[in-house]
């Protein structure tokens, strides 16, 4: 199969074009540095490879380094039949810099090149124009105007690609520019044939005056963040109730048809009680991804990163750490990869090591359950804010605060060479489109379910068997598990927790969500038939001390209970020992702070 490479400036629409041509679903978002790994796909039997965006053939950040290494390797090993270089028509000068460098490099290696001039819909919307023919003539390259978003010009691009593969010699670069000439020529070409910059930037500059206003900018940022975390709780509640009711109804139906016995107990207690209590949290993941998606697609992320630069610098980080930190609230793993765009190696390392403290979606079920147990469901400010939403927000804030303190300490201890400064290109503001956003959110919710689901099912199964036998329902205290659990009591007694919580915590080192499923199973076994009221009520009825509840929250906020994160940490930090230190460090810190919390709350209550 012939391989064609897609390269170009960051945020020029490579991944969207790749998706449109191959039907795959690479992440697309409106800020530079979205793609950080190479991805291949195909159309009409032609291999297509999506690269991380690069500003030049001399790399600066880790993602550029990775892209360029692979790019050079592919070209020099002759694995490549052609290159499609994407130009962002609204940033023609910036795009041509990497474009002209590519021409030169491709000519040296006898590789044919096509330019795809993307975002033409925006040029038209601004009533601007580009003299494509003259540009093509002067460059001696085929330039195909397209809009990856509106799917315009894609057929022409496809047939040009096929032509290029058939007769590569017709597409070999003619004119080339080198070194500084590239920069001068790019500016000249843009001024001669490009759109009117002032017109293109008008809307962006106007909105920046608002969102980056010295006073209002900071306030709006805070409001957006509060809104985000409040929404996860408040908006998700009706959806969560719906899931809960559906499950309860399904539970009733199944138990009315099943004959009494072990099998019925298993379905009720392990499946509906255990696995079901975790399903309830899927809507929250959906909403979180949806709102983060709006921020990513609108272009606000880059602005937020600027607003945070100074405050983050205080803790030894940079504004570049903002995006990994925020996406870390969905899942630490893509966030750790996203940190590749941080140009300073030291800041990148610190960011990677502290991302696991962000309140990721696996912590959501644990938080939501404990908050429902501990905090009354009341609102203030005329129903705009709820106490539970506020508690949620404080937990997110707590994770962030610990991360910042740890970062500050790390940045004092880790040595580094001269530091690398903050330079970011600002993307335009764009209106997010609903359908792709909804799709993205659904697939995130599905991933959350399908990734943790099997682990939860297995653990629940084991826990249920050990908790059910030998005496059956309603007799958890004399089960096998209870005997095993007694050994854990000394560890968790200082937090005021009994063996049930000990087992649930230990099991959740496999995956945090397991905590909820395990408790769900326990109360399923204990409560036998009357557990319809929901898990949080069962826990309340069981008399969990508020002090212990808060200690649990603190423990879960800090402990690093995620095997995949540790594996990715090892890979991305390039150090075998880091995951071990991080694991031991955070677990110890979690336990100590939980112990302190327990005693402080106990003292005041």
């Amino acid at each position: 199969m012939d391989n064609v490479l897609l390269i170009g400036k960051p945020n020029s629409g490579k991944s969207l074009l790749f998706n449109q041509l191959t039907g795959l679903k690479q992440k697309v978002a409106n800020f530079p540095g979205v793609t950080v790994e190479i991805k291949s796909g195909s159309f009409d039997n032609i291999g297509l490879i999506d690269f991380p965006g690069i500003y030049s053939l001399t790399p600066l950040t880790k993602d550029e380094e990775i892209a360029l290494e692979k790019f050079r390797e592919a070209i020099e090993k002759n694995d490549v039949s052609g290159v499609v270089c994407i130009l962002d028509a609204t940033r023609l000068e910036r795009s041509l810099v990497i474009g002209l460098q590519t021409l030169n490099y491709a000519k040296e290696n006898n590789v044919p090149v096509i330019f795809a001039l993307n975002m033409m819909d925006e040029i038209q919307a601004n009533k601007s124009s580009i003299d494509v023919n003259s540009l093509s003539r002067e460059l001696e390259v085929e330039v195909v105007p397209i809009s990856a978003k509106k799917k315009v010009g894609l057929d022409i691009l496809k047939s040009e690609i096929k032509n290029m593969l058939k007769s590569p010699n017709d597409y070999l670069p003619g004119n080339v520019w080198k070194g500084n000439d590239v920069l001068v020529k790019s500016r000249e070409l843009n001024q001669t044939y490009g759109p009117k910059t002032d017109v293109i930037l008008k809307k962006q500059n106007f909105l920046d005056k608002i969102f980056l206003n010295n006073f209002w900018g900071g306030i709006m940022f805070a409001l957006i963040m509060i809104f985000l975390f409040q929404a996860i709780f408040t908006w998700a509640t009706p959806l969560m109730d719906l899931v809960e009711l559906t499950l309860a109804w399904m539970g009733q139906v199944t138990s009315s048809v099943l004959p009494d016995g072990v099998f019925k107990d298993f379905i009720n207690e392990a499946i509906f009680g255990g696995v079901g209590s975790f399903l309830v949290f899927v809507p929250q993941i959906f909403i979180l991804t949806f709102i983060i998606g709006i921020l990513e697609d609108s272009g606000y992320m880059a602005r937020a990163s600027i607003i945070c630069h100074k405050p983050l610098s205080f803790f030894g980080l940079s504004g570049r750490s903002f995006i990994p930190y925020l996406t870390g609230h969905a899942c630490a793993i893509p966030a750790i990869f996203a940190a590749r765009t941080i140009e300073s190696p030291k800041k990148r390392l610190i960011t990677i090591l502290t991302i696991p403290l962000m309140a990721c979606s696996a912590r959501l079920p644990v938080y939501a359950l404990l908050i429902a147990v501990l905090i009354p469901n009341k609102t203030f400010f005329g129903g705009v804010f709820g106490y539970r939403g506020l508690a949620f927000f404080l937990l997110y804030f707590f994770g962030l605060a610990v991360a910042l303190i740890v970062s500050g300490l790390l940045s004092k201890t880790i040595k580094s060479e001269a530091d690398t400064p903050y330079i970011v290109e600002l993307p335009p503001y764009r209106m997010p489109t609903l359908i792709p956003l909804v799709r993205k959110s659904i697939s995130a919710a599905w991933a959350f379910f399908s990734k943790a689901g099997p682990i939860i099912f297995m653990v629940t199964l084991v826990v249920w068997v050990l908790g059910y036998f030998p005496n059956g329902s309603g007799n958890l205290e004399n089960s096998w598990l209870s005997h095993i659990g007694q050994f854990l009591e000394p560890i968790f007694k200082p937090l005021g927790l009994d063996w049930k919580y000990g087992v649930a915590i230990l099991a959740s080192f496999l995956a945090r969500e397991v905590f909820v499923g395990t408790l769900g199973t326990f109360y399923g076994i204990e409560g036998a038939d009357e557990n319809i009221g929901g898990l949080s009520e069962s826990i309340q009825a069981d008399g969990l001390l508020p002090a212990s509840g808060f200690a649990l929250l603190v423990f879960y906020a800090i402990a690093l209970q995620c095997v995949s994160t540790l594996a990715v940490l090892k890979r991305e930090s390039g150090n075998k020992m880091f995951p071990i230190w991080v694991f031991v460090g955070y677990t110890t810190l979690a336990y100590v702070l939980a112990f302190l919390t327990y005693n402080i709350v106990l003292f005041f209550s």
């Binding site: 843009n190 910059t197 980056l212 600027i306 504004g319 290109e425």
Partner: protein, 83 residues
């Protein structure tokens, strides 16, 4: 001797000509700044200062970039008369 004008002190909405990139900026970054449009004897406009004294937005060529103080302090400019 007159103190050189530095980019960080350029007022909002005013334009200047880039004179030189200071030695404090490592060579690798000088290169990248050039590729982002910060070229000697080319115009640069200060678009917007940002909250908390953060990185300032500048327009160079057809792009908008934000530069932190450490960078913008080391870029020397000549102010235009009617900025």
């Amino acid at each position: 001797m007159k103190r050189p004008n530095i980019l960080w002190e350029l007022k909002e909405k005013s334009q200047a000509i880039i004179e030189d990139l200071g030695e404090k900026i490592p060579a690798k970054f000088q290169l990248r700044l050039g590729e982002l449009g910060l070229l000697k004897s080319q115009p640069i406009t200060c678009l917007k200062k940002t909250p908390f004294n953060g990185p300032i937005l500048y327009q160079v060529g057809d792009g908008v970039i934000s530069l932190a103080r450490e960078v913008a302090e080391n870029i020397y400019i000549t102010r235009k008369k009617n900025g």
